[in-house]
Amino acid sequence: MSALAAAASTGEAVQFWVLGTVAVVGALGTILMKKAVHSALCLAATMIILAVFYLANGAYFLGVVQIIVYTGAIMMLFLFVVMLVGVTAADSLKETLKGQRWWAALCGIGFGVLMIAGIGQASLGPGAFVGLGEANAAGNVQGLAALIFTKYVFAFEATGALLITAAVGAMVLTHRERTERARTQRELAEQRVREASAPPSAAPHPASADYGWKLPTPLPAPGVYARHNAVDIAGLLPDGTPSELTVSKTLRDRGQIRDVSREALNDLRALEQRSEERLGRDCDELDRGGRGEGQEAGR
């Protein structure tokens, strides 16, 4: 508990210089990262470090609260919102307002310099620090409690009210009022039919992929009326032509549709050839029929 002493020990000094640097880096990261998520993470890091500093300064309660409330609650809230808005939204750091960045830099530097100058000019030597020795004598939390519930009780109650209000406010703000009545199933069905019953003029052949208008029914499954039932084989329409609509869009885009209508006939012809050669005899009607079939297939 030497941290309570006025002057800081070397250990604390080391801790300060190391973590302080990290904190500053985190802060810079917060404002320089392209993606909001990264900024949030950097901020979280800085806050944790600040929590450590609180502890180092003898504000044990605050240190813990800092971790729980800030890093635990607030930062998570931030992350949620970031997710809500879109993680990948990386906003460009290109400045749109004319001169904004320069002014910002000028003001920032000026402000910082002045602040530091002011603190320096206040010339607070180590002797200026009383330390929290007796203040924390009865324990930091007890001390805070004593103050909160006596001296600051009204402010405390007020903050309570404030929090409630904030919660309600958040709900009011984010709650979205439904503007129109939800449509019943019947209405949906009717709409479906209505849309379907209005074919565009010069309707393309149902087989084509860019089939212009909604079907009242679900699309046919692949492999219907087909000899194959693979996913990449288009089903055949009643007239035997394959309908690309039956194949999933991804495959269609990749062009991985196999057309099997032709090779089926080829297999048949090959079979007949083989059987003729084996029997070796000429059979007219068979031949005729077979030829006719062959011709049929050949066409």
Partner: protein, 99 residues
């Protein structure tokens, strides 16, 4: 080491946060920067409470946290509804104040 360094650190963080508010367009990030500034203040408050040897500074810091929490809640809610309405979280898009 002189604990006054905490104050310098706080000033630095505050300045960084403020500059962030000025240069970032994403409302959420702007909010984070504001949080950063608040935390910087808290740090200085804590340091002061150490300096004066009483706990009032920490109390104030505590209240700051509470208020900050409330503010974040509402603020984020606003951002969300804003995003819903105009599909962007850029503070520059909400520039209807111009004549």
């Amino acid at each position: 080491m002189n604990p006054v360094n905490y104050l310098y650190l706080a000033a630095l963080l505050f300045t960084i946060g403020a500059s962030g508010v000025l240069i970032r367009r994403n409302a959420i990030v702007v909010f984070m920067c504001i949080e950063l500034m608040l935390n910087a203040c808290n740090l200085s408050l804590v340091a002061f409470s150490r300096m004066h040897g009483n706990l009032d500074g920490q109390i104030i810091a505590f209240f700051t946290m509470v208020v900050a929490a409330a503010e974040v809640v509402v603020g984020l809610a606003i951002i969300v509804s804003l995003f819903r309405s105009r599909h962007s979280a850029s503070v520059d898009d909400a520039s209807l104040m111009k004549l």
